[in-house]
C-alpha cells in the first residue's frame, strides 16, 4: 500500500513538470501579446522595450527562461508578477481562492448528494415514474450550458431582476460580509454549477447500480436473508460507487478549470475563474500561466487523492 502511494505521488510530480513545460511552451510559441511591450506601457521607444525585455530575462533562450521560472516556482513558490494588477501572481490567486473553493465545495456536495441518490433510487425503482422523470430531467440538464443556465436562473430567481425574486443574484457574493449572506449568495451559483454534473452522475450511478444489482454476490446477500435495504446500501452501493469515485477526481479538476470560470463570470463572483477571465481579456500572461499551473496542480492533486481512495475502496487494487 505504501509503495503504491509513493508511486502515485512520484507520478503526480512528474505530471506537474510535464504540464508546466507544456504551458510554458504554449505561451512562448503562441503569445497573445509581447510581455515586454505590455510592461513598457504606451509611447515606449524600441530601446526602452529592449531594455525591459533584458531586465525581465525575456531575451534568454527558452530553456533558460523555463529554468528561471521553475526555480522561482519551486524554491520561492513564486509565480511571477502581474504587471496589470501590480501585485505578485501568488498573492492574486490566494486572495481569489477562498471564493472559488467555497463555490466548488458547495457544488460538489450538492452534485454528489443529488446525483448519487437519484441514481440509486432510479436504479432500484427501475422503469418507475420517478426513474423516467429524473432521467428525462437529467438529459435536459446535461444539455444545458452552464452560462445559459446561470443567466436563466438569474432571470427567474435573482432578487433584483428575477421573476420570482427569492434568492440573491449577481454580485451579491462580493457585496456580502457575513457567513449567512455569503451562503445565501452562493445558493444559485451552487445549483447552476452542480446541475449538469449531478445529472451526469445520476446517470452514471444508475447504470453502475443496475450492473451491480445483477451481480452474483447481490444474490448471495439476498440468500443470506439480509433486509433489502442492507442489500442495496451495503452490498450494492458499496460496489457501484467505486467507479464513480474515479470520476469525481477528474470532474472536480475540470470544474475548477472550466465551469467555475463561467459560473463566476455570470454571477460576478471574485474567484480564480473570474480572475482568469479578466487576465485573458487583458493578456496578462504571467497571471494566466500561474492560474493554469495552479489548475493543473489541483487536477493532479485530486487524481492522486482518487487513486489512493480507490486503493482503499477496492482491496484488489492494493496488491496489483
Amino acid at each position: 500500500m505504501f509503495r503504491y502511494i509513493v508511486r502515485r505521488v512520484l507520478w503526480g510530480i512528474a505530471m506537474l513538470f510535464i504540464v508546466s513545460a507544456v504551458v510554458f511552451l504554449i505561451f512562448y510559441i503562441l503569445p497573445s501579446a509581447d510581455p515586454a511591450v505590455l510592461r513598457a506601457g504606451r509611447n515606449a521607444g524600441p530601446a526602452q522595450i529592449a531594455q525591459i525585455r533584458h531586465s525581465l530575462g525575456l531575451d534568454l533562450p527558452i530553456w533558460h527562461q523555463y529554468l528561471n521560472y521553475m526555480k522561482q516556482v519551486f524554491f520561492h513558490f513564486n509565480f511571477g508578477y502581474s504587471y496589470q494588477y501590480n501585485v505578485p501572481v501568488r498573492q492574486l490567486i490566494f486572495s481569489r481562492l477562498p471564493a472559488t473553493i467555497w463555490l466548488v465545495t458547495g457544488a460538489v456536495i450538492i452534485w454528489l448528494g443529488i446525483g448519487l441518490s437519484i441514481g440509486i433510487i432510479s436504479a432500484v425503482r427501475r422503469r418507475s415514474l420517478i426513474d423516467r422523470t429524473s432521467m428525462t430531467t437529467s438529459l435536459a440538464l446535461i444539455s444545458a450550458p452552464v452560462f445559459w443556465l446561470g443567466l436563466v436562473s438569474l432571470y427567474l430567481f435573482a432578487d433584483d431582476i428575477g421573476r420570482f425574486p427569492i434568492l440573491p443574484g449577481q454580485g451579491s457574493y462580493a457585496a456580502s460580509s457575513d457567513f449567512v449572506s455569503r451562503f445565501e449568495a452562493m445558493i444559485l451559483p451552487w445549483l447552476v454549477l452542480a446541475a449538469a454534473t449531478s445529472a451526469i452522475y445520476a446517470r452514471y450511478m444508475r447504470a453502475s447500480m443496475i450492473d451491480t444489482m445483477s451481480e452474483d454476490y447481490i444474490r448471495t446477500a439476498r440468500a443470506k436473508g439480509l433486509p433489502e435495504r442492507t442489500v442495496i446500501m451495503r452490498h450494492g452501493v458499496r460496489s457501484a460507487i467505486t467507479p464513480i469515485v474515479t470520476l469525481i477526481g477528474l470532474d472536480v479538476g475540470t470544474l475548477l478549470a472550466g465551469n467555475a470560470i463561467l459560473t463566476e463570470t455570470v454571477f460576478n463572483i471574485p474567484g480564480v475563474g473570474r480572475l482568469l477571465y479578466n487576465a485573458i481579456s487583458v493578456s496578462d500572461l504571467t497571471t494566466i500561466q500561474g492560474i493554469t499551473l495552479f489548475g493543473a496542480f489541483f487536477i493532479v492533486f485530486f487524481n492522486l487523492v482518487v487513486d489512493i481512495a480507490y486503493a482503499y475502496l477496492d482491496p484488489r487494487v492494493r496488491y496489483s
Binding site: E215, D216, Y217, R219, T220, A221, R222, A223, K224, G225, L226, P227, H235, R238, S239, T242, L313, D314, P315, R316
Partner: protein
C-alpha cells in the same frame, strides 16, 4: 413416517417477457427428508435453478408468477410474506451458488461476510460472531482459519472460495442446504473434494441437501434420490441406484450415455443428446422431449405424458409414453453398447416408419 422437511407440490413458475410467457417451472413435485440428499439434474434452461430460487423467494421481485405449494417445516413458502421468508433465508434454508468468486462480495473480508450472515439472524456479540466465523472456516477445511478470516475473497483459490461459501451457508445451521451447481466452476480434483465435504458435513450436521447440477456424475456419489428435469418438468424421479441401474426415460439415457467413463474403450465415442433444449415460451406439443427423442412415435407429438410410477420399481416414476417393457429392452440394449440408431427399429410401427428427426433443428443428427 412424519412429514418430509420439504414438500414441493405442483410448483409452477412463469415469467412474462416481451416475447411471451416463459414457463420456467411447469408443475413439479418432490420432497426431501431431513438427512437426505436429492439431486436435481437437467440442462441449462430446464428450470432447475429457478425452482430453488423460488423456494427462497428470490424470483419474487423478478415478476414471477408462482403457483403450487412449497411446504417447508409446516409453512408454505409460496404464500409466506416477504419478511417471514427473509427470516428463513440463510437461516433455515441456505444456498450456495455456481461461481464462488462472483458470489462473494469482492470488497469485504471473508470474515465480515461470514459474521454478517450470523448477525442477520442471531443476536450475538461481535467477538462471538468472529469466533464462530473462524470455527466455520475450520469446519469446511480451510487451513489456518484465524489468519484467513481477515483476507479478501480474491486471496483464496476457487476451491477455497467455494468452501467459504459453504461455511457462510452453514453459519446458522440450516435445516436445508441448496447447492446450485456447486462444482461446475471448479477443477475436477477440487470438485471431488467439495462433494466429499458436503457429504461429510451432512453426516455430521444432519441437514437435508438439494444438489442442482447438469452433471449426473456429480450427484452419483452423494445423493439418495435424483429428479431429472426437462423443459420445466420432472421427467424421471427415482432413488439414485435406480437412475443408474434401470433408467426409464430416453432423456436420462442420453444423459447417462454422455458421461465419459474410464471403463469403456478409449475409441468409443461419447453420445451427445442431439438438438437443443426447447424454448420455454413455445414448447413442443405432446411430450416436450419428442423433437430430440430417437424413439419418437407419431402419437408422442400429441399426447403429453404424466409422471407415473414404474411398475415393479417402488419410488421410481417416469413421464414417458413408451411402454415399460419396451423401455427395459432399449435400456438393456444401450447398456450393452448398442446405439439408438440400431435400437430404433424396436419402436417403429409396423405399417409406417417414424422419422426421429422430424423437427428441423435435429437434422444435423442424422447418422445415416
Amino acid at each position: 413416517m412424519s412429514e418430509p422437511l420439504l414438500q414441493v407440490e405442483d410448483l409452477r413458475v412463469r415469467f412474462s417477457t416481451e416475447d411471451g410467457i416463459v414457463h420456467a417451472v411447469d408443475g413439479i413435485s418432490y420432497s426431501v427428508d431431513t438427512g437426505h440428499t436429492v439431486g436435481i439434474v437437467g440442462e441449462s434452461g430446464s428450470g432447475k435453478s429457478v425452482s430453488s430460487l423460488t423456494m427462497l423467494g428470490l424470483t419474487r421481485n423478478q415478476g414471477a408468477e408462482i403457483e403450487g405449494r412449497i411446504m417447508f417445516d409446516g409453512r408454505d413458502l409460496v404464500t409466506l410474506p416477504d419478511d417471514e421468508l427473509r427470516k428463513i433465508r440463510g437461516n433455515e434454508i441456505a444456498m450456495i451458488f455456481q461461481d464462488p468468486l462472483s458470489s462473494l462480495h469482492p470488497f469485504y473480508k471473508v470474515g465480515s461476510q461470514l459474521t454478517e450472515a450470523i448477525h442477520t439472524h442471531r443476536d450475538v456479540s461481535k467477538s462471538a460472531a468472529r469466533d464462530r466465523a473462524v470455527e466455520l472456516l475450520d469446519l469446511v477445511g480451510i487451513p489456518d482459519p484465524r489468519r484467513r478470516v481477515d483476507q479478501f475473497p480474491h486471496e483464496f483459490s476457487g476451491g477455497m472460495r467455494q468452501r467459504v461459501m459453504i461455511a457462510m451457508a452453514l453459519a446458522n445451521e440450516p435445516k436445508l442446504l441448496i447447492a446450485d451447481e456447486p462444482t461446475t466452476a471448479l477443477d475436477v480434483t477440487v470438485q471431488a473434494q467439495i462433494l466429499a465435504l458436503l457429504d461429510d458435513l451432512q453426516s455430521r450436521l444432519g441437514m437435508a441437501i438439494i444438489v442442482i447440477t447438469h452433471d449426473l456424475g456429480v450427484v452419483a456419489e452423494i445423493t439418495d434420490e435424483i429428479a431429472v428435469m426437462y423443459a420445466g418438468r420432472i421427467v424421471e424421479r427415482a432413488p439414485t441406484r435406480a437412475i443408474f441401474g434401470a433408467p426409464q426415460h430416453p432423456y436420462t439415457w442420453g444423459l447417462l450415455k454422455s458421461i465419459p467413463r474410464l471403463d469403456t474403450p478409449r475409441d468409443e465415442e461419447l453420445v451427445p443428446i442431439s438438438g437443443r433444449p426447447p424454448s420455454l415460451i413455445k414448447r413442443p406439443s405432446g411430450c416436450h422431449f419428442h423433437p430430440r427423442c430417437p424413439y419418437v412415435r407419431d402419437a408422442h407429438r400429441k399426447v403429453d405424458p404424466r409422471l407415473e410410477p414404474v411398475p415393479g420399481d417402488e419410488g421410481h416414476a417416469v413421464a414417458c409414453l413408451l411402454n415399460p417393457e419396451l423401455r427395459n429392452r432399449i435400456w438393456r440394449g444401450l447398456a450393452s453398447g448398442e446405439t439408438s440408431a440400431t435400437l430404433r427399429h424396436l419402436v417403429v410401427e409396423e405399417d409406417h416408419p417414424v422419422r426421429a428427426h422430424a423437427a428441423p433443428r435435429t437434422s444435423e443428427e442424422d447418422p445415416a
